[in-house]
């Protein structure tokens, strides 16, 4: 039996008195594409950071391809690509220098960085400083850096936040290619259409717990909502009321 690409087993994370993630079980199959939805403060970023190995859970375990982060960190890092929310790429490095740098982290050379420049359509901007790129271009470069090592699993924390609709479509296209190529995707997003377009399954997170999970039609039926937006607004509304 194939091990799940990503697995969280009863993970708990506390920051002082705040319980950011309160016992989450999540399993994502190889090649599956999953969206993590929830209002601000639901624990999405903390859960993603635990899956990326950046934060250790206080309880439970996180496994990547069946390997435990606690004991196999160095083996896991090459399998996982990470695109962080609001990460700022080195502003005074040129685009090609940045990509060559990230490719080198995975033992890959110039050929790979040229390939990525073409994939994210930044070939004509290769000698521009990262700080001079538009929001959409910057996000595409961040995505290229995340897939520099041709990872089997890609974790994206709000990959299209702050970019214009055209740039969003471009990022969706790239993610679509990766998905077709069999890359496992986990993404957090506030855009319901993004979850619908890119993901096989949606996980709803609220107050550090999984509220529900399934395909979009399943969730809508169970939640009695007309759209994911409605479902999300109900969740957010409940939090505001509390």
């Amino acid at each position: 039996m194939t091990a799940p690409a990503l697995q969280a087993r009863g993970v708990v994370k506390r920051y002082g008195p705040l319980v950011a993630v309160a016992g989450v079980d999540l399993s994502i199959a190889p090649g599956e594409s999953v969206a993590l939805l929830g209002p601000n403060g639901a624990g999405k970023t903390t859960l993603v950071e635990m899956l990326e190995g950046l934060v250790s859970p206080d309880e439970g375990a996180v496994l990547v391809d069946g390997l435990d982060w606690r004991t196999e960190a160095s083996s896991i890092r090459g399998r996982l690509g990470t695109c962080l929310q609001d990460a700022k790429l080195p502003e005074r490095l040129k685009v090609r220098e940045t990509l060559e740098l990230f490719c080198s982290f995975h033992g890959k050379g110039k050929e790979r960085s040229d390939e990525l420049l073409a994939l994210v359509e930044l070939d004509s901007h290769r000698d521009h400083l990262c700080g001079k790129l538009s929001g959409g271009q910057r996000q595409r470069l961040a995505l290229a850096c995340a897939i520099a090592g041709a990872p089997r699993i890609l974790v994206l924390d709000e990959p299209t936040t702050g970019v214009d609709p055209a740039a969003r479509r471009q990022i969706w296209e790239i993610l679509g290619h990766l998905r077709t190529a069999g890359t496992t995707l986990l993404l957090t997003t506030h855009f319901m259409d993004e979850a619908v377009v890119l993901c096989d399954r949606v996980v709803l997170l609220e107050a550090g717990r999984i509220l529900d999970e399934g395909t979009v039609p399943e969730l809508l039926e169970r939640g009695g909502a007309a759209s994911l937006d409605d479902l999300f607004l109900r969740l957010a509304g409940r939090r505001i009321a509390e």
């Binding site: 950046l54 934060v55 160095s74 996982l80 962080l84 990460a87 700022k88 790429l89 990230f102 080198s104």
Partner: protein
């Protein structure tokens, strides 16, 4: 690829170190503060304290006493009198435009000056010398060498201060900035070993710091004739030990900060007190005796004293060894604590 090994690891480390250097040199503001400002400051201090004109003290006299005082203390190459009264006296003294006030009381000259300061003590000597008309004049000769001048005192201090600032801002603030921009997390999520991420910041400084230091010392040598009277190898060892201490401290300072205000505060708290206390601009022995054990053990004090001992006094390795050991102790202890507490996110 899971683990980065061999030449691939060296290449990644090289490219990351190069990236830090490129980010540094492509920022004109940073380049000015790192390379230009220490030279400008040293030049200004050198000009102020290495004036080619001999010391001439100005003393204030009451206009009504002026003639009587001038009769006993005529203007000379060393002493000049200026008539002033009332609030004008206080104003001129506060501005540092006069060294003291000379009064005539019961037919005697009275010098009113703060003789606990170096300038006051000099003023007293100058007045006493000028009033001793019968004493034989002192014969003056130019010094045999420039050694002992303020530039010889200043430049080792400025060099040590440059190394401290280079490490505090380059390594300490650099790491905090990487954390604040989430780049530290991004790098840490790749197969590049975390130790290499930290080393890359240090290697980048290992490129820029020698350039900064050479420019400063070269300027001192060219303009003010500063030279190293001891062994150059010992001098370099002192500089390297200073960098080890400052790098460890900077690393510890950078280990936890999560906000930019905290980052600036930490670096300023680290550098400003030592800049004032550690004998860069004046001898730290001028502080009260009870403070000497504390000030003397500060890493910048150890660095300044070691560099100055070799360059100005020609001290050998054995004489500076305790200070070198102190510097390494600072570096290793702080570095180990920083590594233990370091936060990647």
């Amino acid at each position: 690829m899971n683990r980065l090994r061999g030449t691939a690891r060296v290449r990644a480390l090289f490219l990351l170190s190069r990236a830090h250097v490129l980010e540094f040199v492509r920022e004109p503001g940073v380049v000015f503060w790192a390379f230009g400002f220490p030279i400008l400051l040293s030049w200004a201090l050198g000009l102020a304290f290495l004036s080619p004109h001999p010391v001439r003290a100005v003393f204030l006299v009451e206009p009504s006493d002026s003639a009587a005082v001038r009769a006993r203390l005529p203007d000379s190459a060393l002493v000049s009198l200026r008539a002033a009264k009332g609030t004008e006296v206080l104003r001129l003294l506060r501005r540092g435009e006069a060294s003291g006030q000379i009064l005539l009381k019961d037919g005697s000259l009275v010098l009113r000056a703060d003789t606990t300061s170096q300038e006051g003590a000099t003023a007293r000597i100058l007045v006493e010398r000028a009033t001793l008309a019968a004493a034989p004049p002192v014969r003056l000769e130019p010094p045999a060498a420039t050694a002992g001048g303020y530039a010889d005192f200043l430049f080792p201090g400025m060099l040590a201060l440059g190394l401290l600032n280079g490490c505090a801002w380059g390594i300490g603030f650099g790491l905090m900035d990487l954390r604040l921009r989430k780049l530290l997390r991004l790098f840490a999520a790749t197969p590049l070993p975390r130790l290499d991420i930290l080393l890359s910041v240090a290697f980048a400084r290992a490129v820029t710091l020698p350039v900064e230091s050479l420019l400063l010392w070269g300027f001192g040598a060219l303009v003010f004739g500063v030279s190293i009277h001891g062994s150059v190898a010992t001098f370099l060892l002192c500089a390297a030990s200073s960098v080890a201490a400052f790098a460890g401290i900077a690393f510890l300072a950078a280990s936890r900060a999560e906000q930019s205000q905290a980052a600036y505060g930490i670096i300023n708290a680290l550098t400003i007190p030592m800049t004032i206390c550690s004998g860069v601009f004046f001898a730290w022995t001028r502080f009260p005796h009870w403070l000497h054990p504390v000030v003397g053990a500060l890493p910048l004090t150890l660095a300044v004293d070691a560099l100055r001992a070799v360059s100005s006094e020609g001290a050998g390795l054995v004489q500076v060894l305790p200070r070198i050991a102190g510097l390494w102790a600072w570096g290793l202890v702080c570095g180990a604590l920083g590594l233990r507490w370091f936060r990647w996110r």
